[in-house]
Amino acid sequence: MSDKPTRWVGTEVPRVDGLEKVTGAARYTGDLKFPRMLHAVVVRSPHAHARVRDVRLEQAARVPGVRAVACGKDFPFHVGIYLKDQTVFATDRVRYVGDPVAAVAAETPEAAREAAARVEVDYEPLPVILDVADGMAPGATLVHPDLGSYECVPWITPKGGSNVCNHLKVRKGDYEAALRRCAHVVERSFSVPQVQHVPIEGHISVARMDGAGKLEVYTSAQSPFTVRHLLSACFKLPHGDVRVVVPHVGGGFGGKAGINLEPIAAALAMKARGRWVRVLVDRSEEFYAVVVRQGLEATLVTGVDKQGKVLAQKLLYLWNCGGYGGYGVNVVRAAGYTCGGAYEFPNLWGDSIGVYTNRPVGSAYRGFGMQEIHWALEQQMTMVAQEIGMDPVEFRLRNCLGPGKSTVTGQVLDEHSGRIDLCIRKVAEELGWGDGRKEPNRGRGIACAVKAPAMPNDAASSVLLKFCEDGMLEVLISGIDIGQGLKTVAAQFAAEALDLPFDKVRVRGLPDTDLSPYDWQTVASRQTWATGNAVLRAAENCKQQLLGMASRAFDAPASRLRLANGTVLDPETGRSLPFERLVMGYQFDDGHTIGGPVAAAASFIPEGLIFLDPETSQSPKPVAKWTFGAQGVEVRVDPETGQFTVERIVGCYDVGKVVHPSLIRGQTYGGMIQGLGTGVMEELLLDPQTGRPRNASLTDYKIPTTEDIPEKLEAHFVETPQADGPLGARGVGEHTMIPTPAAISDALFDACGIRVTRMPITAEKVRAALQAKKKEQPTP
């Protein structure tokens, strides 16, 4: 952190991957050509829950052009990032409609389809559980009878003999005693359906195992090293014999975190040695066959005193994890240690419970559980404020976190933790909160957001810096630029630290695990912070190498020299050496050389993180950092139809340091609109009996278009430097979609006195709520 004026960080540099993206030069996985590539089709379960008695591949294998067939018998291997509860193909049972049962690879897509149709699967249907209540009911059918024997990381607590794949308990203060002292108590329930990420590029992976046994995978993924790690573990291959390459990625939003189609591609590749095999999902399968966001059923009890201070808070979050919880169990955990959102609750009883059902698989989704819990918590805070006749903004300011305040895990925040109060005030000011303006059927609402990077404590990043002969710097990173602008940001930090002209930096960000430095995953809004720090460290190392050589070349103390726009300068003598004279080693006039090619690797790993207490989840530092923010919206309602228009969204986030103004605005607008989509129109609908998807297409699962966005989108930022952030920066990518739905719901209440507690807020629900309200209060 430094107050020194910056040359590149904080400025409008060009997006470094922009040119290739506007010219069509950028190649995504599906754009790559592989010689004699085989086409795969995955056979997926039509049943939401069934025992698999037998899978017969003989007929499929006989179809001309078929080169590989595979099913669970061939690869009875478990895979999963946190909880190994899934196999490459179903072995004993299928647990959701779309569960992979077998796969074929053939010379043509037609032959593959034909063969897939000839795979014979003998299913014995089992009772289907779609709701968490059914999953939690005593005597419920077990989705994973063997749950107790699955391998998992130590900080996940599946409960064998039940459908609970994780349970985090948060206990702070004395909730029961505090509740008795409360003047008012509000209890409400909220729910969030499963939704889909809808990246415009769907999931796709291409794999080959060569004659020497090396497995290569090209894949649209957020985490090449995690893919390599999990493939190695699954197929029992040395990491060094697995190579994962990630070309350009057409959107991820968490859906391409962890591991997805790669094991299927790998399994087929092992069966068709020497051949490239491509596996993809079509747009329909993208909705249910790969991962979705978990559903949530939340029940909140809030007790306040007469002054509007929350004394007691109880939270029950029941997560609908779907058929597998490999990744989703960590959403359950994150929602636990963040269960109180942006508020200080002195006495709290929180439970975050992941429940298996026979729905599609819940996993990471931008915000990692936070939009869902804020949907509940933020509406609850407004309702409590209204119950005691206090302004909701005032109420939030009275109860929110800040320096010196204690989180639900007992962590005491300091002056570097970010300021939610400043964000709330900024948004309120922009909305004209409290100006008394009230027009019929128009309303305003505000909601807060907080999120920490939800990741293992040892999630690390590393980078490699090296130079070209002409003095151009190459920055190798393995964080993925999924659109957020990571490559540009990495270039900014590198150019800043080495005082290079911006166009003298190239970021190599299409990682290849054979060649690129390690990075855990591009998730958790962690890249600007983690990779940014690693880049600064590596740049410092390069700088010392350059100064060291120049010091000998100039015969001047290194401490006197400085970097200046691609040169090393001796300010005292005015002598300078351009980088190109140094980066491959320096040669004196008589021909002797010193140094050598300048290069440096550096790492970043968060420090000082302490595991949660298993019974209470108390920890002085459970996560690396928090990012706070708030959004306000204005809506206009047509009370006869229930249709409403979100006319304006204003956001304010404490990002520590704005690294790139228009990129961070883009992140904010994008998050707001993804938040709007989930808030008002998105829901994965399943048939209530069979669990089959009813709207698995873009025709019937709608995401916002240009015609659906508000007239005004505004992004503001507070810059309270993050102590361990690169130049003070902290992550914000996910946070921008967290508060939007709750703010819209509050604005609708303000507009017409109705409240929708089941996301999404459709026109039909608004209309129904208005009708119900009319019945309650008949007009005289």
Partner: protein, 281 residues
């Protein structure tokens, strides 16, 4: 993409097209193809032969006939129809309904004939075509036919078009020119969406008895005219908006689906008919 080998033939005349159709089983006519190609990809239709109609002279033209009627060729894309000066000046409701279909790139391929032949209960152009009392002109193996749009739709995906007949044009009668009104639709989102329901209320220029049109989409097995509501408006004009709305509510037969419930649709038919009727002034 197609599940079986496909033959693609380009017809140069309607006679050639119908002959090509009669030669093989499972031949399909191809105009814009924006629905047919999706059906083929999903395996719901698997033609053995496609007969492209777009190079038949005349099928891509919009022409004013001697009697003042406007003929719109079967292969004219929706975007071209909506932008055509004759359509905009004389049949503005049709332009409005054309623009409600699909997206801008889709409207550069999709045709009104295709929209009508698909016979979706939610077909937006059907609202205007029914209100304007358009006719479908078709050529078939057994000669040419003219089919009034009223009665053309038989149910979802079903029409009275004889087997093997191809629509050559949709014809708007001269007397329908100047019909004014509005088309209201509700959908889950504003940009590019199938209608949850649609309501068109119009008044023909001549006025008097039989001047009003009330057409509903996506609330019955076919797009639906509501004569009872029309009669009310004929007698009392906008003053009968509420009764017309009630008549429309009574006439519709909506279902529950992923776009909305039957109950919401029925209520909204009332709201939108009342609004559109009131807007007539």
């Amino acid at each position: 993409m197609n599940v079986r080998p496909l033959e693609f033939r380009t017809a140069r005349s309607t006679a050639e097209a119908t002959a090509l159709w009669a030669e093989v089983p499972d031949a399909y006519y191809l105009a814009g193809g924006t629905d047919l190609l999706i059906q083929m990809r999903l395996g719901r239709r698997s033609p053995a032969r496609l007969i492209d109609l777009k190079r038949i002279p005349g099928l891509s033209a919009i022409e004013v006939r001697g009697d003042g009627a406007l003929s719109i060729g079967a292969c004219v894309p929706l975007g071209v129809i909506a932008a055509h000066p004759e359509v905009r000046a004389r049949y503005p409701l049709l332009a409005e309904c054309c623009l409600a279909v699909g997206s801008y790139p889709v409207r550069n391929r999709a045709t009104m004939a295709g929209n009508v032949c698909n016979a979706s209960p939610a077909a937006d152009t059907a609202a205007a075509l029914l209100a304007l009392e358009a006719a479908v002109e078709a050529s078939g193996p057994n000669g040419d036919v003219v089919l009034p749009l009223a009665g053309f739709f038989q149910g979802p995906g079903k029409t009275v078009l004889p087997a093997g007949a191809l629509v050559t044009a949709l014809v708007l009668p001269a007397k329908a020119a100047g019909c004014r009104g509005s088309f209201h639709r509700l959908s889950r989102r504003r940009g590019v969406d199938l209608a949850t329901l649609g309501v068109l209320v119009g008044r023909h220029a001549a006025g008097g008895a039989g001047a009003h049109r009330v057409v509903l989409t996506a609330v019955a097995p076919t797009p639906l005219r509501v004569p009872a509501a029309e009669a009310l408006l004929d007698r009392q004009g906008a003053a009968a908006a509420a009764q017309a709305a009630e008549a429309a509510r009574a006439a519709c037969k909506p279902i529950d689906d992923v776009r909305g419930t039957a109950q919401y649709r029925r209520e909204m038919v009332g709201v939108l008919v009342a609004r559109a009727a009131a807007a007539l002034g």
